[in-house]
Symmetry: C2
């Protein structure tokens, strides 16, 4: 990404110019009956009910401009919202995007953020249906998404469905984004290694949510606060205890040991939780009954 020569800030453009920068970057779909520009959006809902969730990222807490550019932030914001839809067994059908920013925010940052949102939305098979722009006092920049989804005939998979005898499973690897954050905190100059990219631009296999639901997952959630904490949420909601097999995590730990050392590798895999400027990539954890 180049930051080109555009040094204008939000103070240099009016709302219409800003919308002209933002809106053309968003695709649409047949399900969007009314898109951005009116008092509300109108989104088709084919299955009689809509999934809805919202997540916010705050400058200085969830990202730092030194480590993540606008496209990174837009990308991550989409991924973590889409992951919440997937964690119910659903498919994302639309996004509302909110930007709250002080007037010293560079227009180029907004353009990059918009591009990151649009690209990640396309990757997830969804579109932006509307949103909100708001100015803020100096130093404040927050971005939010509300994501909508449908279950397409799947029964929603709650946190509370786990039962004794179920198997705990995680899709994908654990700890990589937390390890990437450690590398950034230790001053790594390279922002484009795999681990740092896992922190800056996490991915989620959102199609695996419906797959797990159809395969009989009894309980599911998006791991954004680390395996131990989010696993604990399944345990509490379901009234069960989780028995985590260390051997099942050894590969993930081993894969990070070279980059951050054995102790930090284990901590990243088990607890890689939300820290300042760290939102680990979303991973789905679910329980499935394997016995009678």
């Amino acid at each position: 990404m180049t930051h080109s020569e555009d040094t204008r800030t939000l103070a240099d453009v009016d709302e219409q110019e800003l919308l002209d920068t933002v809106l053309p970057r968003f695709a649409t779909s047949d399900d969007v009956l009314i898109g951005p520009g009116d008092d509300t959006a109108l989104l088709q809902v084919r299955s009689g009910a809509v999934l809805a969730t919202t997540d916010t990222m705050v400058l200085g807490r969830d990202w730092l401009d030194e480590w993540s550019d606008g496209a990174d932030v837009g990308h991550k914001l989409v991924v973590q919202n889409v992951a919440d839809i997937a964690a119910m067994g659903g498919r994302c059908t639309g996004l509302l995007v909110t930007l709250v920013a002080d007037e010293r925010t560079r227009l180029q940052w907004v353009a990059d953020f918009t591009t990151g949102v649009a690209d990640a939305a396309r990757d997830a098979g969804t579109v932006v249906v509307g949103g909100d722009l708001s100015s803020a006092p100096a130093g404040t920049r927050t971005v939010s998404i509300t994501a909508f989804g449908e279950l397409d005939g799947v029964t929603a998979v709650l946190r509370s469905g786990a039962r004794p005898g179920d198997v705990l499973a995680v899709h994908g690897t654990l700890g990589r984004a937390a390890a990437g954050l450690l590398l950034l905190q230790s001053g790594t100059p390279d922002r484009d290694t795999d681990l740092v990219l896992a922190q800056r631009r996490p991915s989620t296999a959102s199609e695996q949510g419906p797959v797990a639901a159809r395969a009989g997952a009894t309980s599911m959630l998006d791991i954004s606060d680390g395996l131990l904490r989010d696993g604990g949420r399944i345990a509490r909601a379901s009234g069960v205890r989780l028995d985590v097999d260390p051997a099942a995590l050894a590969g993930d730990i081993q894969a990070l040991t070279g980059a951050v050392g054995a102790a930090d590798a284990e901590a990243c895999v088990l607890a890689g939780e939300r820290n300042t400027a760290c939102w680990p990539p979303s991973r789905l954890a679910w329980c499935r009954r394997v016995g009678g």
Copy 2:
């Protein structure tokens, strides 16, 4: 509202204690298939499509703690979102509520905000279905709502439907919240006069949106940026010019003249737009064809 003896801040409670403060204040409804507490909410949609809109308020820009308490902020946030649903001809069916606040925020403020949201939601016939809590750097406090709605068989009324010969109509009075803001800015000690309450706790006759839609409104929007600016949005979207009759506004201007003087009264009625700590109450404007 009393601020009681509770001097705790968000730094003194964990997320679960905070949720225990917030969630019991919210009612539910039969349309909420899955409410707060899981990865997403699931909201019944009976008419095949969902209206969706989002609006944010920012401390220091959209309200000042000196003038508005937490309940005022929660109330206003609900009203302005519900008004956007009404301005399409819809009925609000659910709300997602987001609070982004630094840890010095008083727990009592959060409780008051929650009460304001819950009370205004009940008044509007809707409920909170979920939301997000996020910490923020010192001095930052923003609140957002995403509102959902249904059209119940009404055709959505866009901004773009006005045609030459239509009559421009406004429900309710204009300028009262802007006049209330002027009084606050001039140092009025009384926060409970009608005009100041119009600023702190605006009301909207949200049921009038569907009424106007069924009566044949060709174009409609929620006036939150003043009659001239929001009327201009209808004009631009519809490709028409609006001919505003001064005589029709004389009563609203006259009603404010005693409190703020003739010149400011006229400015409030015509332009009462969004200023720091000012979000005028939502009024619906619509156009209706009266000739062949």
